[in-house]
Symmetry: C2
């Protein structure tokens, strides 16, 4: 009873102090599994959910084999401003490849991208972006493409934060994934990014094996190549892993409905709805970008990571909306080191 009393006091305090920025660290149980999360409804309910579904004595117990958790990547696990990581790669690749393509100086969409960089890419429209994607992402073997992506990511810096992109992962989400893994959840990344672009970059970053990374695919072809077989990337988008494509791919590749889903935009809405329909108790979570100082603040009217219909449904259906500014003590790992 004493523990429940303390918990309810903590919860009440957390509720009434949600506008205060720097609060003392609280612990849940002996060791706080989510030290970068401020106390509050979201943190408490995530922990309560995990404790409930992993408790064999609970009516809501879920067998390990059904503990599937799906996470969007851009904007959910790391920053997606000023532009999705992969599109920055497109711009850098166009510049690099232009040495072998002098004709691009006169040809759209390359001309605009070469002249105006990131800003240019945003003006060439969906078709222009598509053409630039195909030109930069296909025509080589999968392993050559992965090496290229990895090398680039090792040095690519965010032009607004002036740190490596890979340094802009969200510390609280890394802790959440660790916590779920400790509780035998199997974590999948389900992102609109190209799967072979993500794998060499995020697999080590998040501790997620390549077979648990699901993304957009380009057509590929097997070539025997006289006993040195390769899989070549063909200039055609095969499957767009966004919006309704996410639950479709989750079923196709995993074959199980998730019990836990995290996203940050309308592109994740179908995945969260699909998760909400699980016969097992499920948890749906939106990361809401509310911190214009430490990260960025945007939602309904953003051209990147727009969260509009999803926010309406989350509020109506009682899904968890994580308020980055107030729910997260630290956002990036480098902030944690400063503390």
């Amino acid at each position: 009873m004493k523990r429940f009393f303390i918990l309810s006091v903590v919860l009440t305090l957390a509720f009434f102090s949600s506008c205060v920025d720097n609060r003392p660290p609280e612990t849940v149980g002996a060791v706080d599994p989510l030290p970068s999360w401020n106390s509050g409804k979201n943190k408490e309910e995530i922990v309560r959910y995990v404790e409930l579904v992993t408790d064999t004595a609970s009516n809501d117990f879920i067998p390990i084999t059904h503990r599937i958790a799906v996470f969007d990547n851009d904007g959910t696990l790391w920053s997606e401003q000023p532009l999705y990581f992969q599109l920055i790669f497109v711009v850098d690749r166009v510049k690099q490849m232009s040495k072998d393509h002098p004709e691009w100086k006169q040809e759209e969409p390359f001309k605009t991208i070469l002249e105006q960089g990131l800003k240019g890419l945003l003006t060439v429209g969906k078709q222009g972006i598509g053409e630039a994607l195909l030109a930069t992402h296909t025509g080589m073997s999968v392993s050559d493409f992965q090496n290229m992506a990895k090398q680039w990511a090792d040095t690519a810096k965010n032009p607004m934060k002036h740190v490596l992109y890979t340094g802009l992962v969200y510390q609280p989400m890394l802790e959440l994934m660790d916590y779920l893994r400790q509780n035998k959840f199997k974590i999948y990344i389900v992102s609109g990014g190209s799967v072979e672009f993500m794998r060499p970059i995020i697999s080590n970053l998040y501790g997620i094996p390549s077979e648990q990374i699901i993304g957009t695919t380009f057509k590929t072809e097997y070539e025997y190549n006289n006993g040195h077989p390769v899989i070549m990337r063909i200039p055609e988008i095969e499957f767009n892993n966004d919006k309704e494509g996410k639950p479709v791919n989750i079923q196709k590749i995993i074959g199980k409905k998730p019990i836990f889903a995290a996203g940050n935009s309308d592109g994740d809405l179908a995945m969260l709805q699909w998760t909400a329909s699980n016969r097992y108790k499920s948890l749906k979570l939106y990361v809401h970008h509310t911190d214009s100082v430490r990260e960025w603040a945007y939602d309904r009217n953003s051209h990147i990571g727009k969260l509009d219909k999803g926010l309406d449904q989350a509020l109506a259906d009682g899904w968890h909306v994580v308020d980055m500014k107030n729910d997260w003590k630290n956002i990036f790992p480098f902030e944690k080191k400063k503390n």
Copy 2:
């Protein structure tokens, strides 16, 4: 030294007695991991391979995360005669659905299938089989289709062996998969069968979770359905997981090259070639159907599970060709129970 001496005597005996059918059980080490396999080159080399790549002191040690094993299904893990399991389902479904489709009595390919059953299906050609596949496999939700497949498989009997199809799994291959699992291999089924047809039937049979079953896919669509979302199967083949499609899908879904591959036909050749190109030490295995009494005997000229080019490459490159008649003590689990 004494152990080596005994082993070499056993090996020599096994070599010279390969034409004898009933030999006394031998053991490898303390407990024989493959009791339904007769001693001989294949059994010994499989065990030696597994011991080598899991031995941290060996130069050929392979980290757990790279121990990916891929198995074809039809003809590799269970019998595929007189016709692939899934095509028998097509015939039964056409008969069942014909009550609601009186027009099929006059329409090909349904007319021939209704009149001549399995034999009829073999005469309607690729296009006819394709039409029958779409008619019987799509137009419903994934979960409805899975229930349908499961119910059917629970009673469907092989017309030549008069036992349940699911009873025609190969006991030696079940043991091989168990042995690999014990040694932390992650086993994937990579089959030409429809992934959603296989999952409800073979997942429990082999102890392989749905996310480790890769197969042919039909197009699907997500429908929100007023808060009761479903994924509907659309009458269009999306990806044919056969031949070159196998390595393509292995890369797309797993993102790692296998170290162990087992197949039984030319449809598996690209998968075995791909595995052979692994920088880690790999093992490639063909199940060769050589037992016309206990199972079936067929290879180069068969219309089902043709093994021709694959056999040539296996013999030329020193892959393992498992001789069902001589390498397997028992073929089916029900034989084992009789012993």
